[in-house]
């Protein structure tokens, strides 16, 4: 039987009369690396804060490592690593001080511990700090965004958490630091049985590490599948006509369309190739081709607002 490390049931959150998260049902099995993607303001941070018990749901519930999010015990929190958006750490502390502060909430790993054992792994922390080229005397307030992200990652990974929840950890980081950050995550993935929920809107990062993708849009889960399935099923097809394209597009799985004089581009989800060929024939298309998209293009098309079927144009005065 699959063990779910993270489960939600109808998780809903209103801020006043504004709906932030709408009936989220999620199940993340142990060992899964889940990319949690959405545009700005789509509800990612709210959902993560609900999961960690920082916010109270208006309706529904969630469980982490079998414990209700609203009643996470210290023992459960110890098994969950959390990287907050913006890597907000205690500014006046030095790296050595914050390491001491963080380690006080975990038991120190004995010298005989193997890699992957629970508890504060001091050696791992300092190795990571050395790798990032930081010094223990540096104050958090004097670190750049990227360096703060590195310290934050080292602090979170050193206790070897069973479940790692990261809220847009690569936001505002340059490509080199993002790569180092992802390498840190991959290091954790190498330890068996570790589960990661990784929110981001940088799709390249998700593509590199995730094996499951959850797309949230306006508080609603729009996709919850394997990354491979998402890559296969979201398609852009361009139909070429000898005359104007038909006004009605009755093709299965249609998500959006964009038309020009003699061309029609459609975004399809889960439509079989035979169905596409069938529609091309019935609609009188002279030709059609499936356009290759990277994950970012797929995500943008998948979450594009319904009315946005024309590119932005601007005419100089």
């Amino acid at each position: 039987m699959t063990e779910f490390v993270l489960e939600t049931q109808g998780l809903t959150k209103f801020y006043g009369d504004k709906l932030a998260v709408d009936h989220i049902d999620l199940k993340i099995p142990r060992g899964c690396i889940c990319g949690f993607v959405g545009r700005n303001g789509s509800g990612k941070t709210t959902a993560i804060k609900l999961l960690l018990g920082f916010l109270k749901p208006t309706a529904g519930s969630s469980r982490l490592l079998g414990c209700d999010s609203q009643d996470l015990t210290p023992a459960i929190r110890q098994r969950i690593g959390y990287v907050a958006e913006g890597h907000r750490l205690i500014r006046w502390m030095t790296i050595a001080e914050i390491a001491k502060f963080q380690s006080a909430f975990f038991h120190e790993q004995p010298a005989s511990a193997k890699q992957g054992d629970a508890g504060w792994d001091s050696k791992f922390f300092w190795d990571m700090i050395d790798y990032f080229g930081l010094s223990k005397k540096q104050k958090i307030k004097h670190l750049s965004n990227g360096q703060r992200a590195q310290v934050s990652l080292a602090l979170t990974l050193a206790p070897n958490p069973e479940l790692l929840i990261m809220d847009d950890p690569t936001l505002g980081l340059d490509a080199a630091i993002r790569r180092q950050f992802l390498e840190g995550i991959i290091e954790l993935i190498m330890r068996q049985g570790r589960t990661i929920l990784f929110s981001s809107h940088i799709l390249g990062d998700i593509e590199r590490v995730a094996d499951k993708i959850v797309v949230i849009d306006k508080g609603v889960i729009r996709a919850d599948c394997s990354l491979e399935q998402f890559r296969t099923e979201v398609k852009k097809v361009r139909f070429v006509f000898n005359q104007s394209p038909p006004q009605t597009i009755d093709i299965e799985g249609l998500l959006g369309s964009r038309r020009s004089d003699k061309e029609l581009e459609v975004i399809l989800v889960g439509t079989a190739d035979e169905k596409i060929a069938e529609w091309a024939k019935s609609s009188g298309a002279a030709d059609y081709q499936t356009i290759n998209m990277n994950l970012e293009d797929q995500f943008i098309e998948y979450t594009a607002p319904a009315g946005r079927n024309k590119p932005f144009t601007w005419e100089a005065k």
């Binding site: 804060k49 920082f54 109270k56 023992a75 929190r77 913006g86 006046w92 909430f105």
Partner: protein
């Protein structure tokens, strides 16, 4: 262990405010005492006649009356500063997530904050008050020593600082709107202060401070446990 780690962090964060309040109190208090000594020469009998039987009143009519106002201002100032530092700044800096996601109970985090503030108030205001009282009472400064009641009166003033600390903390924790109940904490502390000033006796004073502190502390604890971060 976890509590002491949190307490140490909180004390470090209170330290600049504690040091500032203590420095102001010590500096102006000492200057005031020196000034009072000079004024007292030739005026000692008149001062003696102005003494009242009620504890706090001694402070207000004694040549060091300015000094009692200084203690009050320092205590309230420090109380407000600590309340803001501990319960507002984490909101502004976005560090609540890091603090609250500790493998410990929220009550422990809250208790560490309150204990750190109490220690800061006692060290910066209470102990300095003891020192300045002893200094004022030594024959080098005043011919007529201050009665014990006025010493306790100084601690009452320190207690007022604590009420303002709790009030400011409650305002910081409250997520209601400014024009609704958000300011209730400070309003309550102010009301306690007015109540206290209406009838200044030791028992009444201590009773008021104690009741006020218990009410505010309970409200803060309740808010902290159920707050969204």
């Amino acid at each position: 262990m976890r509590f002491f780690t949190l307490l140490k962090k909180e004390l470090r964060e209170c330290l600049p405010w504690m040091a500032t309040a203590a420095a102001i109190l010590l500096l102006i208090g000492s200057l005031n005492l020196i000034d009072s000594k000079q004024r007292q020469i030739g005026d000692q009998y008149r001062t003696f006649e102005r003494y009242s039987e009620v504890g706090g009143y001694y402070l207000l009519t004694h040549p060091i009356s300015d000094f009692s106002i200084l203690v009050f201002m320092s205590a309230v100032g420090l109380g407000l500063a600590l309340g803001v530092r501990q319960f507002w700044v984490d909101d502004f800096m976005g560090t609540w997530g890091f603090i609250v996601h500790r493998s410990t109970h929220r009550t422990t985090i809250f208790a560490a904050k309150i204990c750190a503030a109490l220690i800061s108030m006692i060290v910066a205001i209470g102990l300095l008050w003891c020192y300045l009282f002893w200094l004022a009472n030594s024959s080098a400064y005043f011919v007529f020593p201050l009665p014990e009641k006025s010493f306790i009166g100084g601690w009452l003033i320190c207690g007022m600082g604590l009420l303002f600390y709790l009030g400011a903390g409650l305002v910081g924790l409250s997520k209601t709107k400014w024009y609704t109940t958000k300011l209730m904490g400070l309003g309550f502390a102010l009301w306690m202060f007015i109540t206290l000033s209406q009838q200044w006796t030791l028992w009444w004073g201590f009773g008021t401070v104690l009741i006020g502190a218990v009410v505010l502390l309970f409200l803060m604890w309740e808010t902290f446990l159920n707050r969204e971060f």
